[in-house]
Symmetry: C2
Subunit: 243 residues, 2 copies
């Protein structure tokens, strides 16, 4: 991110001398979309916040048509893939879903925090989770419903912690996620990274005889690392990065 | 791709009844950018051509500012990463580069074939390679030059075949890629996929004591599969997919 940020600051300095007419909103710098693409394609990793220069761009993106379309294209592809599978009939085929920003939206929370331009604040995020009011991401719910029809069982795998099991269960149920094979939450005291935790849990699923036919998450750390699943899907999220 | 294509065709049908004024060019459908993002993020895989509905979009993208910016952001990030490394001094740190559409551009060829909207044609592509006139992708050349300064040795790993060694060598040299540790081409008779070939070659490099600090390619099949390298970079390419 260092050079990208440097580039952003350099360009910002270059336009600082321009005349912005009173009352006219400055256009976001043109590279904001390229940075977002680089985040989605796992080229920019380990970042803390999206650059402040792109605050308006990200807010417009997250609340506009493009984000919805980006998500719909991913979900359509996931459904087409699921429909193409020949299932074994064993009932052991599962699909792994991340929770926050994949099954459930964090947008009402992010809207008050600049859509990722402000740094992550654990206390206020836990407060949001605890309210249990997160709305479903409608595309993911559509994928979930189709998988149930097809006989592929959902497994939720999240870095929410065990003490959030009840609120998470109720939130998922209230939003239409009506059944699942497992809801796997992180032990409260676990010290490993989210990625290491998720890889370990997927290993346990495979060892128990499950076949992970699909795996969807908004973070690359949800879907990288063997066993990742037969096919993985990166749900769009330019707002935050989880290691 | 099936559902994405279905979506594209459905939307195309929905607008077919609209009036397009004579002489006014139809705007590309709005989902073309989302499909491109999904290709870059490895959500849409195994595709043969970009949908014809997006022909104008892809041509505009490949010849416009956005493609250059997308590439620059990736290259800037790769350079920042390389500059952050503490090298061992052993001279064994290498960076793996793909050739076509990473080190050398195929754009002069693609321009005559709808930038990927027409299906892949091996004979004409080999003809393009054989001419040896492919220009460098300037961002990649910039990364290459910085790596040489830093003491990281370039290795070219390509699915071009051994019988194309001389023309490839001359093309690379003529475009400013002036030295390399290895140029690894595919044996003419090899039957495995490009991905399997590249994984096997990276294994051999690691077994020979090299440390692959970076790996850049325009295809996900260049950069997925252990050992992939300490960090990987996906160079933008919505024009074709290699399995």
């Amino acid at each position: 991110m260092a050079t990208a940020r440097l580039l952003l600051l350099t360009v910002a300095a270059a336009v600082a001398g321009s005349c912005f007419c009173s009352g006219q909103e400055a256009k976001p710098p043109p590279y904001c979309g390229s940075v977002r693409t680089a985040v989605e394609a796992h080229n920019i990793i380990g970042w803390k916040t999206f650059t402040a220069d792109c605050a308006k761009y990200i807010a417009d993106y997250m609340t506009g048509d493009r984000y919805t379309r980006d998500a719909d294209v991913v979900i359509n592809e996931a459904i087409a893939y699921a429909e193409s599978l020949k299932l074994s009939g064993s009932g052991k085929e599962i699909w792994v879903f991340d929770v926050d920003e994949t099954a459930l939206s964090t947008l009402p929370y992010q809207a008050n925090r600049g859509y990722g331009v402000q740094p992550y604040d654990q206390a206020s995020f836990i407060q949001y989770v605890t309210e249990g009011s997160a709305p479903a991401l409608q595309g993911t719910l559509r994928l979930y419903q189709r998988l149930l029809q097809l006989g592929i069982k959902p497994v939720f795998l999240t870095d929410r912690t065990e003490d959030q099991r009840t609120v998470t269960t109720n939130n998922l149920l209230s939003q239409g996620y009506c059944s699942w094979e497992k809801l796997l939450l992180k032990p409260v005291e676990l010290q490993t990274s989210t990625q290491a935790f998720k890889i370990e849990e997927r290993k346990k699923l495979v060892d128990a005889g499950y076949v992970i036919v699909g795996n969807i998450g908004d973070q690359w750390t949800d879907i990288l690392g063997s066993p990742e699943g037969c096919r993985t899907f990166k749900y769009p999220n330019p707002m935050y990065y989880v290691a």
